[in-house]
Subunit: 267 residues, 2 copies
């Protein structure tokens, strides 16, 4: 394996672009290949076994592209399949749950942490388990927020409706005395302004996107796989959905023009 190979990223749709965006910012000399499974998005309320099957299909696509690392830029897929994925592939596989957990452990002063995510992520209890593995004394409270992904995918984050939905789902967290809230879904950084408004500015919001890009940097460095000489990096985007629509949304999210190719996966 060499430092010149690209990093592979995948998500159920657009959400993982928040991770891709942080990879482009924090590791600007890396080539990346991103796969969005927009045709089957959202993953959040599917059966974990189904999510896992989709995950391995996409990881196979990335492995064929000779990537040096795969980032599962999707909390739902990380919760459903990271452990098994690590045994299936010989390259480093990074999920979004460990980096977010570690950042929350570092950030909290009151030792009380909240986690929001999709149904699959919250039901898996993955964040609490990961945090308690490292520090069993911390208090962790989970809250599923199923409608948040659709608000982002449908570009409705800046509406009064979004504010009302966010306020309703975060209400149970208001009396928990948390000082740190993990945005346990890669879509949620785009709702961060609304979430911050509802929770107040004393609550630190942890973006799994930012933290995952940073941890990818650490791991690549330790494994001597950091690309430190690549003045014209290549960024490729593949989608199971409509490439034109992905190009439009993706270019806006990443604040740069992107090229997108359509791919077909087995059902």
């Amino acid at each position: 394996m060499t430092s010149k190979q690209p990093i592979g990223l995948l998500d159920s749709g657009f959400g993982g672009l928040t991770v891709a965006s942080e990879v482009l910012r924090q590791l600007p000399q890396e080539d990346i290949i991103y796969v969005g499974d927009n045709l089957r998005c959202p993953y959040g309320s599917r059966q974990p076994s189904e999510v896992k099957r989709y995950l391995f299909q996409i990881m196979d696509v990335l492995a064929e592209q000779d990537v040096k690392m795969i980032i599962i830029a999707c909390n739902t897929a990380t919760a459903a399949g990271l452990d098994e994925a690590r045994t299936r592939y010989s390259i480093p596989v990074l999920g979004v749950i460990s980096p977010g957990s570690r950042a929350a452990i570092s950030a909290t002063q009151t030792e009380r942490i909240g986690v929001i995510g999709t149904d699959v992520t919250i039901t898996s209890d993955s964040y609490r388990r990961e945090i308690h593995r490292i520090n069993p004394r911390l208090y962790v409270v989970n809250q599923a927020c199923p409608p948040f992904v659709q608000l982002v995918e449908e570009d409705r984050t800046d509406t009064e409706e979004a504010h009302q939905i966010v306020a309703r789902f975060l209400n149970p967290l208001q009396d928990e005395q948390i000082d740190t809230l993990i945005l346990g879904c890669t879509h949620y950084p785009l709702l961060a302004p609304v979430i911050g408004e509802v929770m107040g500015d004393k609550i630190k919001l942890i973006s799994s996107a930012e933290e995952t890009a940073r941890e990818a940097s650490t791991i690549l460095q330790v494994k001597h796989l950091l690309n430190d000489d690549n003045p014209v990096p290549q960024h490729r985007f593949l989608t199971t959905g409509d490439p034109d629509y992905f190009r439009k949304v993706g270019s806006r999210w990443l604040k740069r023009e992107i090229e997108v190719t359509g791919i077909t996966l087995l059902p």
Copy 2:
């Protein structure tokens, strides 16, 4: 190597206790062994070759104690000897410069970063090189602050004199439009309140202590060396200086009673 072995940390004196403190907070189930070379402190204005010789003496002590990882909790020693240390020992060796650099890359929005440290650290230009290796577009400005270590070692951080010295040495950074300042010396987190006052609250201060503990957590996890079952962790402290004085200062810094053993190294 097993997850049950301790983490080794070393510093020229007390400064690395800021890293130890963060390891105890972020990795509360780890055993640690800390060596402070108080007899020969400070390292900051010595020749790099001399610092390197001291570094390897202490790393040999830690290696004999069967540690699973060594954290060089001293910027000066990291700048002088990390690369060579990595080839001398087969266990993971972590310095404080990469974690601080990576955190600054993640934190900056204006893409302008300041670095303060000792003479050896600043002359080595290690932070700028590390940051530019990952992102050559960022602007990095260095400033040596030789008297800061003594202010901390002699417990004079809370004085008007300290405020004046800090203001004088940080003055050249005021017009640099930085938004992120790396505290490139493990002593400096104890001066953070004064530094924050002088620089203003818009400047993000990066503590290499906090970031190094977090990166240690990442690396231990990737290498399957994270201790996740150790309800009564052991913390041992060794010093080349006066054990009673180390116990007094160390207990205050770490906010817990510590036991300290004196050791003798070759001159």
